[in-house]
Symmetry: C2
Subunit: 229 residues, 2 copies
């Protein structure tokens, strides 16, 4: 049906899965069981099945390779990578997805991996340990996440509900590498329409005066944005 001179290619999805745990900005990595790059760390991912939509493949890999359900997950397409030599097995085009999840605890390795682990984003980016072009994909995903914290409410997708405003502030500190001022952050978040919804509960888990607990609000975009400055 398609003229023969056009070579078909393999299509994969790769996942940049990000979370924050105790003040650290982490990405999910797996250790590859098979060649190429057997034994090396990589981003989770896999081939798109014959009749499978791209986003469905991403959801499936998230579940298979990381044991992460799609319920509390923000998942968006990042971009595609198609350099002809990016995979030694042949021509493979990868559609990368970005997932932001509240810390789900230790990951369980899927069938293609002999280990899975959360690793600090900074050290992954500095240490060229990732297989394929996954360092570039991770860099793009991290950049997108950092940018989106500015003008969306997605920061709240990186912690479990309910959370205090200071816990949310720690997310921004971990992702941006710089803590916003607590008082200005509190003013901004609590006055931004629909960013967070207060509950009746408070907690003292951070020590000090009890802090109100919040849930994620319905707003997705922030007007005006929160500036990294």
């Amino acid at each position: 049906m398609i003229r023969g001179m056009v070579a078909p290619m393999h299509v994969t999805v790769d996942l940049v899965v990000l979370t924050v745990r105790v003040g650290e900005f982490l990405a999910l990595t797996i250790r590859r069981k098979l060649d190429p790059f057997a034994g090396r760390w990589a981003l989770p991912g896999g081939f798109v099945l014959e009749r499978e939509d791209l986003v469905d493949a991403a959801v499936r890999e998230l579940s298979e390779e990381a044991g992460i359900g799609s319920m509390r997950t923000h998942l968006e397409q990042l971009r595609s990578y198609g350099q002809p030599d990016r995979d030694p097995r042949g021509r493979v085009v990868s559609v990368a997805y970005l997932a932001l999840v509240p810390d789900p605890g230790e990951p369980t390795a899927g069938s293609d991996a002999d280990a899975a682990a959360w690793k600090p984003v900074d050290s992954l980016l500095r240490s060229r340990t990732l297989a394929f072009d996954h360092a570039a994909i991770l860099r793009d995903g991290v950049e997108r996440a950092r940018a989106k914290l500015e003008y969306t409410s997605l920061g709240a997708m990186l912690i479990p509900e309910p959370f205090t405003i200071n816990e949310l502030r720690a997310v921004y500190g971990a992702v941006w590498g710089r803590e916003p001022d607590a008082r200005n952050f509190h003013r901004k978040v609590s006055s931004a329409e629909g960013f967070v919804e207060p509950t009746d509960e408070t907690t003292t888990r951070g020590g000090g005066r009890p802090a109100r607990l919040y849930l994620r609000g319905p707003a997705r975009l922030l007007h005006p944005p929160m500036l990294r400055s």
Copy 2:
């Protein structure tokens, strides 16, 4: 080299090519010569060659199908589309690119098309005339372009150099559907570091008092952004 159960797919690039001409926001379309959708209007695009990088395929199609060189063109990846049934010929994953060009005049149809034309974005989006899922791709591209005018200097890629500030303002009006205030726009653009570079020349082509001519500046991001409000 890759286990047999994973079916290879065809990979294409599709192009959302946008420009502004006499106050109208236009997208490049071609009329398809071949099935599927022969005779229907579509976005320019085509198959990625066996050893060709994705962006190279986009540059090639831009040149082949629209006669647009890559010199004065802003080209960025938009996103990928991979619904299993999006192409009746079989499984085709398309990587869409967004191009912003200064009006290059009437397009010349490439070999896969029997016509090429600039059409107003709004009417294309309203009238469900585009083949495949190209209406969705165009919508995403237009949305990206509208958003990027806010926080980048890309508006200047939509008009030929040199230009007056008012001509640039007309670009914003065409893309956003609403003209910013001339005086505030002038203040903002001329005070934003590196957005535009003044020349020594002026023009009276708009009538009235001579306007200074500007070139595109080196800045790509605007801090703070220009608000659609």
